[in-house]
C-alpha cells in the first residue's frame, strides 16, 4: 500500500516536473523566434518537410472524408426529407470539427513523428552537442524553425483538407445523389459565416499547430540518447499530441463555441 502511494506520488511529481520543463521549453522557443539571425532558410526547409510532403495525404484524406460524410448525411437526411440541407451538414462538420482535428491528427502522424525522430536522432548522435560546441544554439537552429513552421503549416493544410472535403461532398451529393447543385451550395454557404465558423476553424488549427509543433520538438529534444529513446520519443509524440489535440478541441469548442 505504502509502495503504491509512493509510486503514485512519484508519478504526480514526474508529471508536474515534465509540465514545468515543457513550459520552460515553450518559453525558450518563443524567445528564440526573435533571436537574430532569423532562420528563414531553415524555416522554408521545415515548411517543405512538414507541409509540402503532407499535401498528398491531407488531400486524399479530405476527399475521402468529404465523400463519406456526404453519403452518410444523405442517407440520414433523406428519411426526414431534408436532403437539401446536405450542403450545410457536410460543410459545417468539415469546417468546424473534422477539418482542423483530422488534419492535426494526420499531421501528427506524418510530420510530428518525423520531427521528433529527427531531433531525437540528433540527440543520440551528439549532433546537438556538436552544434553547441560550435557556439550554435540548437534550440535556435533546429528546434525553433521546426516548431514555428508547424504553426504556419497547420492552418494551411487544414484549409486544403476542408476544400478537398467540400469538393468530395459536392461530388457525392450533387453528381451521384442528384441533389441540385445550387441548392447544395446555397445551403452550405448560408449556414456558415466567417466570424463564427471559418475564423474559429482557423483558430483551432493554429492552436493544434502550436501543440503538435511544441510536443514533437520537446519529445525529440528530451529523448534519451539511445535507439530506444528515439523510438519512444516518436511513439510518445504521436500519443501525446493526438490526445492533447482531442482534449483541447473539446475545450476550444466549449469555451468559444467553435
Amino acid at each position: 500500500m505504502i509502495e503504491l502511494i509512493r509510486e503514485l506520488g512519484f508519478l504526480v511529481y514526474r508529471f508536474i516536473y515534465d509540465l514545468g520543463r515543457f513550459g520552460m521549453f515553450a518559453l525558450s522557443v518563443v524567445k528564440n523566434l526573435f533571436v537574430r539571425p532569423l532562420r528563414w532558410r531553415r524555416f522554408c526547409e521545415e515548411i517543405f518537410k512538414e507541409g509540402v510532403l503532407s499535401i498528398v495525404i491531407i488531400c486524399v484524406s479530405g476527399l475521402a472524408v468529404g465523400m463519406v460524410l456526404s453519403l452518410q448525411g444523405y442517407n440520414t437526411l433523406i428519411r426526414f426529407g431534408a436532403e437539401e440541407t446536405l450542403g450545410a451538414v457536410v460543410g459545417l462538420s468539415l469546417v468546424r470539427e473534422l477539418g482542423p482535428v483530422l488534419t492535426a491528427l494526420l499531421t501528427t502522424g506524418r510530420a510530428g513523428s518525423a520531427t521528433a525522430a529527427e531531433i531525437a536522432t540528433m540527440v543520440k548522435d551528439e549532433q546537438l552537442d556538436g552544434l553547441r560546441m560550435m557556439s550554435i544554439d540548437p534550440m535556435h537552429l533546429i528546434v525553433t524553425p521546426k516548431a514555428a513552421s508547424m504553426i504556419l503549416v497547420m492552418p494551411l493544410l487544414s484549409a486544403m483538407f476542408i476544400c478537398c472535403g467540400l469538393f468530395g461532398g459536392w461530388m457525392i451529393g450533387v453528381l451521384l445523389m442528384g441533389i441540385d447543385g445550387g441548392t447544395y451550395l446555397t445551403s452550405m454557404e448560408s449556414s456558415m459565416t466567417f466570424a463564427d465558423d471559418v475564423a474559429g476553424s482557423l483558430l483551432k488549427s493554429v492552436i493544434f499547430g502550436i501543440l503538435v509543433g511544441l510536443i514533437s520538438t520537446y519529445r525529440g529534444f528530451t529523448a534519451t540518447p539511445t535507439s530506444e529513446g528515439v523510438s519512444s520519443a516518436t511513439t510518445s509524440t504521436v500519443v501525446f499530441a493526438s490526445v492533447c489535440v482531442l482534449i483541447s478541441d473539446y475545450f476550444i469548442t466549449a469555451l468559444w463555441g467553435v
Binding site: R41, R42, C44, E45, I47, F48, G51, V52, I55, G91, V95, L152, V153, P155, L156, L157, A159, M160, I162, C163, L166, M188, E189, S190, M192, T193, F194, A195, D196, D197, V198, A199, S201, L202
Partner: protein
C-alpha cells in the same frame, strides 16, 4: 542550410495554395463579403421574433439580399433588428418587412415587400411596417380554445 531554389519555389507554391484555400473558405463559404462597411444598414422593430437569429437571411422575392446583423431589446421592450443589405438596393420608405418560416418548422428569415413611394430609405433609417412572427403554438391555441385575443399586426 544550403540553397535549394527549386525547394523554396515549391514552398512558395504550397503557401499560395494554402492561402487560396483559406481565402476560398473565408470569402465564398464564410460569406465575408456581406457585412462589410459598405453595406446598407436598416432597422426594423418587431413585437415577436419567434426564433429569428442573427445571420438569418433577408430576401426580396425569394432572392437573398442581406442578413440580420444583430438583435437588441429597445426601450419599449420590443425587438430591434439591425439588417445589413446589399448597398445597391433602393428601398422605398413604405416597404414592409415580415418574419417568415421556411417550411413548417424551418428557420426564420426576413422577407421584404417593396412599397410604391418615391422616397428611398437611407443608411441607418427604420422600416416602419413590420409583421411579427406567427407562432405556431399560439395559432394552435387559438384553434383549440377558440380564443379571439387579437394579435398586433403592426
Amino acid at each position: 542550410m544550403n540553397r535549394h531554389p527549386l525547394r523554396d519555389f515549391i514552398v512558395g507554391i504550397f503557401v499560395l495554395i494554402g492561402l487560396a484555400a483559406v481565402a476560398y473558405l473565408s470569402i465564398t463559404v464564410g460569406g465575408i463579403s456581406y457585412g462589410g462597411p459598405g453595406g446598407l444598414t436598416l432597422y426594423a422593430t418587431f413585437d415577436e421574433l419567434g426564433g429569428l437569429k442573427p445571420r438569418a437571411p433577408v430576401v426580396i422575392a425569394g432572392v437573398k439580399v442581406g442578413a440580420v446583423e444583430s438583435i437588441v431589446l429597445d426601450a419599449d421592450y420590443r425587438a430591434r433588428v439591425e439588417m445589413n443589405l446589399n448597398p445597391e438596393l433602393q428601398i422605398p420608405v413604405d416597404t414592409s418587412v415580415s418574419i417568415v418560416t421556411s417550411g413548417l418548422l424551418g428557420d426564420r428569415y426576413l422577407t421584404m415587400l417593396l412599397g410604391g413611394e418615391e422616397t428611398m430609405l437611407k443608411e441607418g433609417e427604420q422600416l416602419e411596417f413590420t409583421e411579427s412572427a406567427v407562432l405556431l403554438e399560439r395559432l394552435l391555441g387559438k384553434f383549440v380554445y377558440g380564443s379571439t385575443g387579437s394579435e398586433d399586426d403592426r
